[in-house]
Amino acid sequence: MGNHISLLLVIVPLIAAPLVAVLPRGRLPWAVSFAVSVVCAVFAGIQLWSVLNGGVISYELGGWAPPWGIEYRIDAVNAFVALIVAVIAALTLPYALHSTEREIPDEKIPTFYSALLLCLTGLLGITQTGDIFNVFVFLEISSLSSYALISLGKQRQAFTASYQYLIMGTIGATFYLIGVGLLYSQTGTLNMQDMANILPSVLQLNTIVTGFTFIMVGIALKLALFPLHLWLPNAYTYAPSVVTVFLAATATKVAVYVMLRILFTVFPQTFTIATPADELFIVAGMAGVIIASFYAIYQKNIKRLLAYSSVAQIGYMVLGIGFATATGLMATLIHLFNHALMKGALFMAIGAIIYRIDSCRLDQIHGLGRAMPWTFGAIVIGGLSLVGVPGTAGFISKWYLVTAALEQSAWLPVAVILIGSLLAVVYVGRLIEALYFKPAADNGKVVTEAPLMLLLPTWGLVLANIYFGLDTDLTVGVAEQAAAILGGMKP
């Protein structure tokens, strides 16, 4: 097998997707998808292990040597992101069984799982490939399938949300492609490594600067960087619970990865620092943290509340990129991982509430915390992690982020990170207040705890939040290696 694992990680879900689409209704499509996701998670684990021990994996598709052929090039950075995506998928699928049976019409279930697998293919493909145009292809695979997935939401607004995302996402992808085209016109290559070798000699050209700008704006749209985040709250709110969990924990993370790759692998570090890009990232990140957190406080829908919180969390990640130091990049990568854990857990718990009461409005969940203690527990711990309480994963990422800011004596970002955490206390507090301290509505309905199949994956992620808050060997260790590969040598 050897290197073929890196390829199979993309091909297995790709082949499974059309097969699942033609399976009969019932539980078979789910079972196949679940098996595929577990296989992918195992492959991603093996891949990360072999990258950490054996160095960079390079795979030539079709036997064509790079830079002419497409190359999959895996180092600690993308192996780490691929592992996040694959593991989240493997945890989301057991959760999906009951949740989709409740939320998706029977006849659409095979296509639903097919689209979910395609989305997984696209996201994993982005992480694996070392070809800048191939990234666009996989970006479109994952985006198109996620538009379809979001539109399957129960409420009619899901269509509008999906359409909005379709327009914004397509603009983002087009910008990215225009940028790639401009870079190609000057370098004559699409291979990231090759481009990185050629770029320094043409860096002063306006075409390159324009291409760089197009790519950055395009990716910023895809990762919902404030103020380009407008598609995200609606998309997360109206998508089926499973889709929200999966996309919130993976899609924006992969976009952050693409940004890191372009900024630090394809372009020389000095270029990013010479342009206003890094300052802009810090400004946009800070604005995102504060403004999106304020928005989150005033939401009446719990899914939308968490969606705005996601925009704020993306602000933290971009702050780390903006610092452009090794510690800053480490903070971004650690937060990438930890945020997938906490948002995954929180959206799963919210999905469990929706499963029981079919509503995600803040005024309809009063007192539910007592009826659904395990779900409530998951929300409390997930929320604490979001705030960044010591002992949870969220603390680790905030710690490294603050360290990165202090290294540069950047006091304003430090203040913003702390204020952002306080605002998180407020919106998580609102959630907990409604769930536990408000008296339950007396409408005669008895709400019971969510089924075990929903609780197990949720608690899997909750416990991971605590585990990675105490034992940081994996996250910090890998992030350190990854940051070293990306560079980050700004004094």
């Binding site: 390829l7 091909i11 790709l14 082949i15 097969l19 689409a21 795979y59 030539e60 598709l61 079709g62």
Partner: protein, 139 residues
């Protein structure tokens, strides 16, 4: 649907030619301009013309919609399957060279099969899209 003699006769005359041209574009794609994507679109155009002239119900009798879904999936599986086959033969994914006795024969066979997969999927997807829009408002 109101019968229209001229349309019917012309359509019946043109449709086989369109399909023939689609097959030409498909299988001549590795020597000249063309390939699976273009061929698939031309192929589906023949069926779209048929359903415009003879009505949606008649067209759906010829190609039932659930077949289309199977065909669309089949194309992707053919494409990916060629890649897997070259993996099994000991090469890298989509390394056509190993598929034939000589390098040229292998490359030839590989691209032919892959383009066939593309053609089938594109034709089926075009028809699925057409039926989805044309069938709106029926139920």
């Amino acid at each position: 649907m109101r019968p229209n003699l001229i349309l019917h006769v012309i359509a019946k005359f043109v449709i086989p030619l369109i399909i023939l041209f689609a097959l030409y574009v498909q299988f001549h794609g590795d020597f000249g301009p063309g390939g699976g994507f273009q061929a698939g679109v031309i192929f589906s155009a023949a069926f779209i013309l048929y359903s415009l002239v003879f009505g949606l119900e008649t067209a759906e009798k010829i190609i039932p919609p659930h077949w289309l879904r199977i065909l669309a999936s089949l194309g992707v599986v053919i494409y990916a399957g060629v890649g897997i086959e070259s993996l099994i033969l000991g090469g890298n994914y989509l390394d056509y060279t190993l598929l034939g006795s000589t390098q040229i024969a292998g490359q030839h066979l590989g691209i032919l099969l892959v383009e066939l997969g593309v053609g089938i999927t594109v034709a089926a997807a075009m028809l699925i899209l057409f039926f989805a829009f044309a069938g709106r408002g029926r139920e």
